[in-house]
């Protein structure tokens, strides 16, 4: 053991055995999907850059695959992180997790079938009525198959969250208690951060699933009986409510890895302070209230909802920056923690989240949105807090869980891979944002010649990102293999 080696912190309270095995398998599956979908994203950018030529229908199919694959994998990764750490505090059912994972994977197979065999290319947002009115490109059956696949994934998550809810209620008495209201409004002892965040996630995602299932059922029925039409504005509201809640919840779940792992490095426990509790209670309501910021250009929306969306958009960013980020700063600063791959990825993740919030808030101003909506600015901001934010945290968890308790230095090759991921990711995001500021639309299979140079640079950064991500996946698999041979 050389001097630069550090023992990856291990805590006796961390779940081991089957719980660890299940969580490791799930995070590896999710990370594999991340890497595969990144490769698809790279292909999309290279097509936009004019390096590669594919037919537009194939482009949009791959775009749909990239979107739905990433959102699904984000949900799975987040759920795996939350489930693993919740096992420290409450009794969760392993059978229910397997039921969740099984149903989820069946849904994934159905969706891949609907895209690659059925030719569905209606984007992951399945915005009514595009799935059933493709202009003759794919059949209604393909759309139905896609929607059924989504429904299965919804059922999977509902089962998972219900088990989490049950366990939280059993341990703490009620969700009001596990989110820390008695501590917030009184003098009761606050539950641990993971419990508080899990409660918020469980509540919003069960509600989100109900809304999502409703619009999916309507869309399926409409695909079978087209004379039953859905109000397009209602469909947009339900779809974006569900989508916004789901993807944000995936970040909230993944950040629990930061709450739980960073203290092992710093020796400073992540505390459920009053401000922490306030932050999560605000987030609980805000994440459900701000979705109208996706509908700023739908002039049929009631203006007060749009204004509420703008204010909510801003307010939602406050806890991320003023509470989560500053708390992390306080825990890290002069803590004597030794940097390694896992800690670096986790801190990078919080940076990505905080950084991504900024262009999100800017685009959440209606007057800016007027000329930024549906430009590359939008994928710019969400790749910031998903690629550099959420995925980094998921990778950090994956690397940590495979190595906990073992000696590991931050080796040169790891530093290089990490740097590749950071530089590639930041460059990719910068190209998205700059393209957006220059009015380049999102979701275009072919770009005007004057726009291609952005995509060409982005392609280069995407290659670097994918290489970095492959390295992370390799470290994750290597760690899992090592742990497997040890036990």
């Amino acid at each position: 053991m050389s001097e630069s080696d550090v023992i990856i912190a291990k805590d006796q309270t961390m779940p081991t055995g089957q719980v660890s095995l299940i969580a490791r398998s799930a995070i590896l599956i999710a990370s594999l999907v991340f890497v595969l979908m990144m490769a698809v994203g790279l292909l999309l950018r290279s097509v936009q850059g004019g390096f590669v030529t594919i037919a537009p229908d194939m482009f949009y199919k791959l775009m749909t695959l990239h979107g739905v694959g990433m959102v699904g994998a984000a949900g799975l990764a987040g759920f795996a992180v939350m489930w693993y750490f919740l096992n420290k505090y409450v009794a969760l059912s392993k059978a229910m997790f397997l039921a969740f994972l099984g149903t989820f994977l069946i849904g994934v197979v159905v969706i891949i079938g609907s895209i690659m065999i059925g030719g569905f290319g209606g984007a992951w947002t399945f915005l009514y009525p595009l799935p059933v009115q493709s202009g003759g490109v794919w059949e209604a059956q393909a759309a139905i198959l896609f929607l059924v696949g989504l429904l299965l994934i919804g059922v999977a998550f509902l089962l998972g969250y219900l088990d989490v809810g049950r366990a939280l209620i059993k341990e703490y008495g009620s969700l009001a208690k596990s989110i820390g209201w008695p501590a917030l409004f009184g003098n009761a002892e606050a539950p641990p951060p993971t419990i508080v965040a899990s409660t918020a996630v469980t509540i919003v995602n069960v509600i989100g699933t109900v809304a999502g299932a409703a619009i999916i059922l309507m869309s399926i029925f409409n695909a079978i009986a087209p004379t039953f039409s859905v109000d397009a504005l209602l469909a947009k509201n339900l779809t974006y409510f569900f989508g916004h809640v789901f993807i944000n919840a995936s970040i909230y779940m993944t950040v629990m890895a930061v709450y739980e792992i960073v203290p092992l490095y710093t020796g400073r426990a992540w505390k459920s302070s009053k401000i922490f509790l306030i932050g999560w209670t605000i987030t609980l309501f805000m994440v459900m209230a701000v979705y109208p910021h996706h509908l700023f250009q739908d002039l049929a929306m009631p203006p007060w909802l749009l204004v509420a969306g703008q204010i909510g958009s801003y307010v939602s960013g406050i806890p991320v920056i003023a509470i989560t980020t500053l708390a992390l700063f306080g825990y890290l600063f002069k803590s004597g923690a030794r940097w390694d791959l896992s800690l670096s990825l986790l801190v990078l993740g919080v940076f990505g989240w905080a950084g991504g919030v900024i262009p999100a808030i800017i685009d959440g101003i209606i007057s800016v949105n007027k000329v930024m909506h549906n430009t590359m600015w939008v994928p710019g901001h969400f790749h910031f807090y998903l690629l550099i934010g959420m995925v980094s945290m998921a990778f950090g968890f994956m690397v940590w869980i495979g190595r906990q308790g073992t000696a590991s230095a931050f080796r040169g090759v790891e530093k290089l891979s990490f740097a590749a991921y950071v530089i590639g990711g930041l460059g990719l995001v910068a190209m998205f944002l700059i393209s957006g500021a220059n009015s380049v639309p999102r979701r275009w299979a072919e770009h005007l010649v004057q726009w291609q140079s952005y995509s060409q640079l982005a392609t280069v950064f995407a290659v670097i990102t994918v290489l970095g991500a492959i390295a992370m996946l390799f470290y994750g698999i290597a760690g899992a293999a090592k742990t497997a041979t040890k036990t």
């Binding site: 290319g121 509470i323 992390l328 700063f329």
Partner: protein
């Protein structure tokens, strides 16, 4: 607007980067836990008050003047119907006068489309959604003459990127002459 948004975002993002780098550089050293906690609490209080005290009034102020009502939108507007479908724009007129309030009545015969207006330099100047069953009224005043492009900004299927139309924006006198000649 776009460049201002980009610049603001970049400045703030660099602020966040600087914060992370400063903390990262100081992580490996040892320090007094209580003291650090104290200064972080102070910083957090200041940040919270700054974000609430300055940010919330600012966002309110930015919504106070209704963003969907453009400046200089006075007088009798010209109404232009813009029907969309997979994958075309059908405008009631493709020539419009500069400096005159225009109301685009956006409709669609099939799926959601996005009515995005690009100027000659291909900068996006305004947009709104066209959605099934609704007529969305987009108000706009063209500030300079030239050949504008209408492009679809809501994904609508395989030829989404090819759903383009052109609007010739001319001075009001030319516009009036051309109208009376028709």
């Amino acid at each position: 607007m776009q460049q201002f948004a980009l610049l603001t975002s970049l400045i703030l993002i660099f602020g966040v980067i600087a914060g992370f780098l400063y903390v990262a550089i100081n992580t490996s050293q040892a320090g007094d836990k209580a003291e650090i906690q104290q200064s972080i609490n102070t910083l957090r209080t200041k940040t919270l008050w700054l974000m609430i005290g300055v940010g919330v009034p600012l966002t309110l102020a930015l919504a106070y003047r209704w963003p969907h009502a453009p400046e200089g939108f006075q007088g009798e507007p010209i109404t232009v119907s813009a029907e969309s479908g997979q994958w075309y724009w059908n405008l009631s007129q493709f020539e419009l006068p500069v400096g005159t309030p225009i109301v685009f009545e956006l409709t669609t015969v099939d799926v959601n489309h996005g009515f995005g207006v690009y100027d000659e330099e291909f900068e996006l100047v305004t947009q709104a959604q066209a959605m099934p069953g609704y007529t969305n009224k987009l108000n706009y005043v063209f500030k300079k003459p030239g050949l504008y492009t209408v492009a679809c900004l809501e994904y609508c299927g395989v030829a989404h990127h090819a759903m383009l139309a052109e609007i010739d924006v001319v001075d009001p006198v030319t516009y009036a002459n051309n109208q009376s000649n028709e």
